[in-house]
């Protein structure tokens, strides 16, 4: 395996993160926003793994496990909320959810 630098992996993680950020900022459908948040979490995990591999320590993988558990619980709660929103408002557009606005 050729030795490759950590900068490349970090740049890949940054690109993934920015793609997820663009998704969160531009989409209006709440399911697509959740997907973009998943991409961003994945990018953060990739950065952790790269750092852990750089220093040859297992801490990065441990952090990725925590990110994984956090993403799983976040997705389950968020999808329950999406179902509830769809039942009550019949839409997935985040701009229609102004119920708490004055």
């Amino acid at each position: 395996m050729p030795p490759f630098s950590i900068n490349i992996v970090m740049i890949v993680a940054a690109v993934l993160f920015v793609l997820g950020l663009i998704g969160v900022l531009t989409r209006k459908n709440i399911i697509f926003m959740l997907l973009s948040i998943e991409i961003m979490l994945n990018a953060a995990g990739l950065a952790f793994i790269a750092a852990g591999a750089k220093w040859n320590q297992p801490d990065g993988q441990v952090m990725f496990l925590f990110i994984l558990a956090m993403a799983a619980s976040e997705v389950s709660v968020a999808l329950a909320l999406v179902l509830q929103i769809y039942h009550q408002h019949k839409t997935l557009d985040v701009e229609d959810l102004k119920g708490l606005k004055d």
């Binding site: 395996m1 030795p3 490759f4 630098s5 950590i6 900068n7 992996v9 970090m10 740049i11 940054a14 993934l16 993160f17 920015v18 793609l19 997820g20 950020l21 998704g23 900022l25 531009t26 989409r27 459908n29 399911i31 697509f32 997907l35 973009s36 998943e38 991409i39 994945n42 995990g45 793994i49 790269a50 852990g52 591999a53 040859n56 320590q57 297992p58 990065g60 993988q61 441990v62 990725f64 496990l65 925590f66 994984l68 558990a69 956090m70 799983a72 619980s73 976040e74 389950s76 709660v77 999808l79 329950a80 909320l81 999406v82 179902l83 509830q84 769809y86 039942h87 009550q88 997935l92």
Partner: protein, 173 residues
């Protein structure tokens, strides 16, 4: 590809491809256990949850057309430019430091497990709490099928309602 699709299922499939690619990167970074977990949990469980919800909400061609209507160039150019500025800054910062060659060696799952249950045991317990709270929260939020109104709104609705109906519908408080 995920963030430009109009159809939710297509976006989900591209997201699965992205997760598999990330799993391959993990494998080549010397983290085989994490790669397996990525495939199983991300590309398996979380995607099944998403597909379940998309199927349950019955998002079809109407949603795709609506998305196409929403995703005009005027909407996404501004945020994309700002995000690209952020990306340029990140890449610049990453390229400014010296190039550190990494000698990849496999960190086997045994070391991960020892570290996880050794020094990170409090994190494991907190993750257990988080998962428990997630399960309870999802069950609680997803349970109610009725439309719940605030009690003031409910009283308003009762006032506006003709007499005789409110005994059927108004007693759900």
């Amino acid at each position: 590809m995920v963030i430009t699709r109009y159809h939710p299922i297509h976006a989900l499939l591209y997201l699965v491809v992205s997760f598999l690619a990330a799993a391959m990167i993990f494998l080549s970074l010397g983290a085989p256990f994490i790669a397996v977990l990525e495939v199983i949990i991300y590309a398996g469980a979380i995607m099944v949850l998403f597909i379940f919800v998309v199927m349950m909400l019955n998002l079809g061609k109407n949603t795709a057309a609506q998305e196409k209507d929403w995703l005009r160039p005027g909407v996404w150019v501004g945020p994309s430019l700002l995000a690209l500025v952020l990306l340029a800054e990140l890449v610049l910062l990453l390229l400014k430091g010296e190039v550190l060659a990494m000698n990849v060696s496999v960190v086997d799952p045994k070391k991960v497990a020892l570290s996880l249950y050794g020094e990170y045991i409090i994190g494991v317990e907190l993750t257990g709490f988080l998962l428990m709270a997630g399960i309870v929260g999802a069950a609680h939020v997803g349970k109610h099928k009725k439309k719940h109104l605030h009690r003031f709104l409910q009283e308003e609705e009762l006032e506006n309602m003709p007499v005789g109906i409110d005994e059927n519908t108004g007693s759900g408080k």
